[in-house]
């Protein structure tokens, strides 16, 4: 009898429930802020070769350099919409590194670098940003299909669509997954929940990422939800969920790798919340972070720059030095310069093509419009 009474007491103890939720999601960490390993076993489990470590760091540097160059170009009016990524390099690139070519990426609008890491040329990313339709062709320069959706604008929609891909992969018996990114604000959307719930109900091959960077434009994370951890939302639909230090590239990679292995085995989706920060503005379209956060807060986060600890770690391992870094950045810059030229020289978009692409088989009035615009060379 006493046991039942204890259980009943606990059922009715709402304070206990909140505390239990809070305690349920410790943060996965492998690398500390000084680039030292805090968990050797986890490092072993990540199973990263020296080449892997360098590749991940390369991708993070590429991400940072794209951010720096895009922000500059935007200030000169030579870029379109750009959502800065500085601060999120480990969260984005180390997670993406765990996935394979045959996996399907469902990015949010800040997740351009993950698509580039998948082989999408930078000049197409530039065109996407500038508002040119060729920027929505997901192929490599040698014409290979890149398994990526477009950077989703309607926050949350990528979650339900990715669930459909995950189910399709399962139905086709493919050893592949879909992986989708959203942010802390995205977890408030109905589609966030529907996507996870659908994928879970079908045990579909899916890994969901929430990059919790603390702000949805200006709205702080604590105003999005009373949930102590965003990862807890996965539990509501029966999905294994975890929180990872988003500034720790090795921990992020380990989480993503384990999640992919779980999802590809047919057991269902996994949700990963990365704790990260957007060092800069929401977008280059006039957002001023100092309207909603302090200089000190931003400065504190810069100290947790994911590049610092990864650089220290691979330098200590003898894999990296300043010359290598300068060489690699020079390479990226040359590549970006070349791709800007390529983007500058793209053919003008035609309204007649827009019409032709709207429906495979156009209706009567559309045919008239196609003819009219074609006759005007537009």
């Amino acid at each position: 009898m006493s046991n039942i009474s204890k259980t009943n007491d606990q059922i009715l103890d709402f304070d206990y429930q909140l505390k239990a939720q809070d305690d349920a999601f410790p943060t996965l960490k492998v690398l500390d802020n000084d680039g030292k390993i805090v968990d050797e076993k986890a490092l072993e489990r990540a199973d990263l070769s020296d080449d892997d470590l360098i590749n991940i760091f390369h991708n993070m540097l590429l991400n940072r350099q794209l951010d720096i160059r895009s922000t500059k170009l935007a200030r000169q009016g030579r870029f379109g919409f750009f959502a800065p990524t500085a601060g999120q390099e480990a969260s984005q690139m180390a997670s993406a590194y765990a996935f394979h070519d045959e996996d399907w990426l469902f990015p949010g609008y800040r997740d351009i670098p993950e698509i580039v890491a998948k082989g999408w040329p930078i000049w197409k990313a530039i065109l996407w940003s500038r508002g040119h339709v060729v920027g929505n062709e997901y192929t490599t320069d040698d014409g290979k299909e890149v398994n990526s959706w477009f950077p989703q604008i309607i926050i949350g929609a990528q979650y339900v669509e990715a669930a459909g891909v995950a189910l399709g992969l399962k139905k086709r018996n493919k050893k592949a997954v879909s992986y989708a990114y959203t942010g802390d604000g995205g977890t408030s959307q109905g589609d966030f929940y529907e996507g996870m719930n659908f994928a879970a109900a079908y045990h579909a091959n899916e890994v969901f990422f929430v990059q919790n960077n603390g702000f949805a434009i200006s709205t702080p994370r604590k105003l999005q939800t009373a949930a102590p951890h965003l990862a807890a939302k996965g539990w509501a639909v029966g999905v294994p969920s975890l929180v990872v230090d988003g500034q720790d590239a090795i921990a992020v990679y380990l989480a993503a790798k384990e999640a992919r292995a779980w999802a590809v085995s047919g057991k269902g989706p996994v949700l990963i919340e990365t704790l990260t920060d957007r060092f800069e503005a929401h977008s280059t379209a006039g957002d001023d972070p100092l309207r909603y956060r302090t200089k000190e807060d931003i400065a504190d986060w810069w100290k947790k720059d994911p590049l610092i600890r990864m650089r220290k770690y691979i330098t200590d391992k003898g894999l990296w030095d300043e010359d290598k870094e300068n060489d690699y950045i020079a390479q990226i810059d040359a590549r970006i310069d070349e791709d800007i030229k390529k983007a500058d020289n793209i053919d003008k978009q035609k309204i007649s093509d827009y019409l032709k692409n709207t429906l495979e088989v156009p209706g009567y009035a559309m045919k008239e419009q196609i003819e009219k615009f074609e006759s005007e060379g537009k």
Partner: protein, 326 residues
């Protein structure tokens, strides 16, 4: 040829599509074991398996997203929205996503999805089950909106919709599901999309209509013929995009037009047809174009349906007004 109900024609088309193309899937709330709340998919899960005909959790936006994602793996999903009044929950998937994807991807990716949903009044449903919301999607570029009015078209148009690489919103009239029967050809056949049908030939006036209003207009035409008025009836079948050619031929022949729709008067398909006629064929007209449509209130509660809905008498009155106009 066999005489079949509208709902049986819809089911038969899906059966044939599943048999014809292994990539066709059916998904939606209760479409599996239950065969759909109207039995439009009755027995199909037993016949084709749970892998191809399957229930979804209860969330329309999730169903839309699922269908979109499935296309990346070469599938051609038929997704059912249990009642078209629930469309608001999935509007982003339809208008924000599948409608735009072919355009968005510069023609490199297709969206071969059929969205089936019953619509229309006259069956005393609870609120949000009967609204004629075709206008909401008909004004969205990238979506094709098909609304068959009889069993034969329901089957042939549904098979065309499934074959189409463009997304099709396929709206089935709830009242007609079991109230109408007609000859349906055996086997697999398609009825062309974007093509209106002259369902009754006449010389005095053109009644341009679609969906559930077509049989009402046919009844009105029978009564009118007794009164010496020979009405031609155009069933649009695809309401977006419009078959302007067929509309034009009829208008040029009769010179008088009444547009009839079950939906409210504001905006909508009827308005679009009238605008095309006034822009293109005004010199063929002998009278203003008449319009029969429901009042611009919210769709009524069940007990007021009979007073609110357009009926054959409304069409007859409007036709007489336009025929007698000098």
């Amino acid at each position: 040829m066999a005489v079949k109900s509208y709902i049986d024609a819809v089911k038969e088309a899906q059966d044939l599509a599943l048999e014809h193309d292994k990539n066709v899937l059916i998904l939606g709330e209760d479409v599996g074991k239950n065969g759909g709340v109207f039995r439009a998919t009755d027995g199909l899960q037993d016949k084709y398996g749970e892998d191809r005909v399957f229930n979804t959790p209860l969330a329309e936006s999730g169903i839309g997203g699922l269908a979109i994602g499935l296309t990346t793996q070469g599938y051609r999903p038929i997704m059912e929205i249990q009642f078209y009044g629930f469309i608001y929950e999935v509007l982003d998937s339809l208008a924000g996503q599948m409608a735009r994807n072919r355009f968005r991807f510069n023609g490199t990716r297709q969206m071969p999805i059929v969205v089936r949903a019953p619509y229309g009044g006259g069956t005393k449903t609870p609120e949000m089950h009967s609204d004629n919301l075709e206008g909401l999607v008909a004004q969205t570029p990238g979506l094709r909106v098909v609304m068959p009015s009889n069993p034969s078209d329901a089957k042939g148009l549904l098979l065309s919709a499934i074959e189409s690489n463009d997304p099709v919103i396929f709206l089935e009239n709830l009242h007609l599901y079991r109230s109408i029967k007609g000859e349906v050809a055996e086997g697999y056949y398609t009825t062309p999309l974007d093509k209106a049908a002259v369902v009754r030939k006449g010389k005095d006036i053109s009644i341009i209509t679609y969906g559930g209003m077509t049989p009402v207009a046919l009844n009105a035409a029978e009564e009118l013929s007794k009164q010496g008025i020979d009405a031609e009836i155009i069933d649009l079948r695809t309401v977006s995009p419009l078959d302007i050619e067929t509309i034009g031929e009829s208008v040029k022949k009769t010179g008088r037009v009444v547009v009839a729709q079950e939906a409210q008067r504001m905006a909508g398909i009827g308005a679009s047809v009238m605008a095309e006629i006034s822009e293109r064929f005004i010199l063929s007209l002998k009278a203003p174009v008449g319009r029969v449509a429901a009042p611009d209130s919210i769709y009524p509660f069940a007990q007021a349906e009979n007073d609110w809905m357009v009926n054959a008498d409304d069409i007859i009155d409007k036709v007489k007004e336009i025929v007698n106009y000098d």
